[in-house]
């Protein structure tokens, strides 16, 4: 049987993860999109901690001799998946940020040129630049 202390620890840890990520999302501090994977693994953590038989099954299927090692294996894999999802979104964001930065630069340039052309046109008309608008 899995150690009761470890079981309680797992339940507590998973509940904390669940609470933190649900609560932060509730307060609009986290985007559900990115909290989702944490919430999912938090919930899965509670389930497997309450029903440790799952670990025995996994350990047997994977040929792991000590069931507790299946706990670590699952934990590490979960973290791995979370990190992967983070790397994916980081890459997406850096690409979007680059495009945005370039667009902002190009648009600023366009605005400056338009301003210059406007000033010139108004100067050529000879009037006070502001009078025409008001």
């Amino acid at each position: 049987m899995i150690n009761l202390k470890l079981q309680l620890l797992l339940v507590a840890f998973s509940l904390v993860v669940l609470f933190v990520f649900v609560n932060r999302t509730r307060r609009y501090k986290l985007e559900l999109k990115y909290a989702l994977v944490w919430i999912f693994f938090g919930a899965a953590g509670v389930v497997v901690a309450v029903f440790p038989q799952i670990f025995f099954l996994i350990a047997r299927v994977m040929g792991i001799q000590v069931p507790v090692n299946a706990v670590f294996l699952l934990a590490v894999s979960s973290i791995f998946l979370i990190l992967y999802s983070l790397t994916v979104s980081l890459s997406n964001h850096s690409r979007k940020l680059r495009t945005l930065t370039q667009e902002v630069g190009l648009m600023n340039h366009k605005v400056e040129q338009l301003e210059r052309r406007l000033e010139q046109a108004e100067r050529e008309r000879g009037g006070r630049p502001d009078a025409a608008d008001r």
């Binding site: 850096s94 690409r95 680059r98 930065t101 370039q102 902002v104 630069g105 190009l106 600023n108 340039h109």
Partner: protein, 241 residues
């Protein structure tokens, strides 16, 4: 793209600049004297590069934050493509590149013999040849590119290069973010672009600092090698994500 020889081609020099206040002013004035049109892409400089350029009435796009050389140059390609330029030339703001070689550089494009023309220091092996270690690195990339694409490029890290509108569109859509030079060559070759080199002389940079310094060079070698190898895995189908 067979260029229309009756109309004078519209040519734009793209000058990426990051903290280049010492050289950029005199460079821009000398380009203007030679009748060359230039666009400075100010890559979030923290010095007064932008003010120096504005003072002499240069055409300048200022990026709100630093993107790195690839992101800055790509901005220039986007601009050149949107404004209907026939040829875009990448030109360093640090005094390494010499404008007198621009006609030779664009000749293969005008003749319709190449889509990307690279100015190479190592065809005639004259002028500033860089340090021994850098030359070794460049030879290595040259071999790697030949291995993958079958084409010999003697100076794959050269930032002095000219492209026609086809490649401009390609680069505007997809361009490597950092250390773009060797990777962009295999990118062009993979998508069927024709690459040729012309001999040029380069000078030692006048001021500022190279973006590739010693402790970063290992990272540079590994990252660019991987970028080239991964690009080879893309096949002709993968254009952009």
């Amino acid at each position: 793209m067979p260029p229309n020889l009756n109309v004078r081609p519209k040519i734009l020099l793209i000058i990426p600049a990051f903290n280049e206040r010492e050289n950029i002013g005199s460079l821009l004035l000398s380009l203007r004297e030679q009748g060359l049109e230039a666009l400075v892409v100010n890559d979030g400089s923290t010095d007064d590069t932008a003010e120096v350029c504005a003072e002499i009435g240069a055409n300048i796009v200022s990026l709100p934050c630093n993107l790195g050389i690839g992101g800055a140059v790509q901005t220039g390609y986007k601009y050149a493509y949107a404004h209907g330029y026939d040829i875009a030339i990448q030109f360093d703001g640090d005094g390494q590149h010499r404008a007198e070689f621009v006609p030779a550089l664009i000749a293969p494009l005008l003749a319709g013999q190449a889509d990307l023309s690279i100015g190479s220091r190592y065809i005639e092996k004259e002028g500033f040849q860089s340090t021994f270690l850098r030359r070794a690195g460049i030879r290595y990339f040259s071999r790697l590119i030949r291995l993958i694409s079958g084409q010999t490029v003697t100076d794959p890290t050269s930032g002095f290069r000219a492209v026609n509108r086809e490649i401009m569109a390609m680069f505007a859509a997809q361009y490597p973010t950092d250390y773009p030079e060797p990777e962009s060559i295999v990118h062009v070759l993979r998508l069927g672009g024709r690459v040729s080199e012309v001999p040029v002389l380069m000078s030692e940079r006048v001021g500022g600092r190279s973006s590739i310094r010693s402790f970063r060079s290992v990272y540079y070698m590994i990252k660019v090698s991987l970028a080239i190898l991964i690009d080879a895995l893309r096949g002709s189908g993968v254009r952009r994500t």
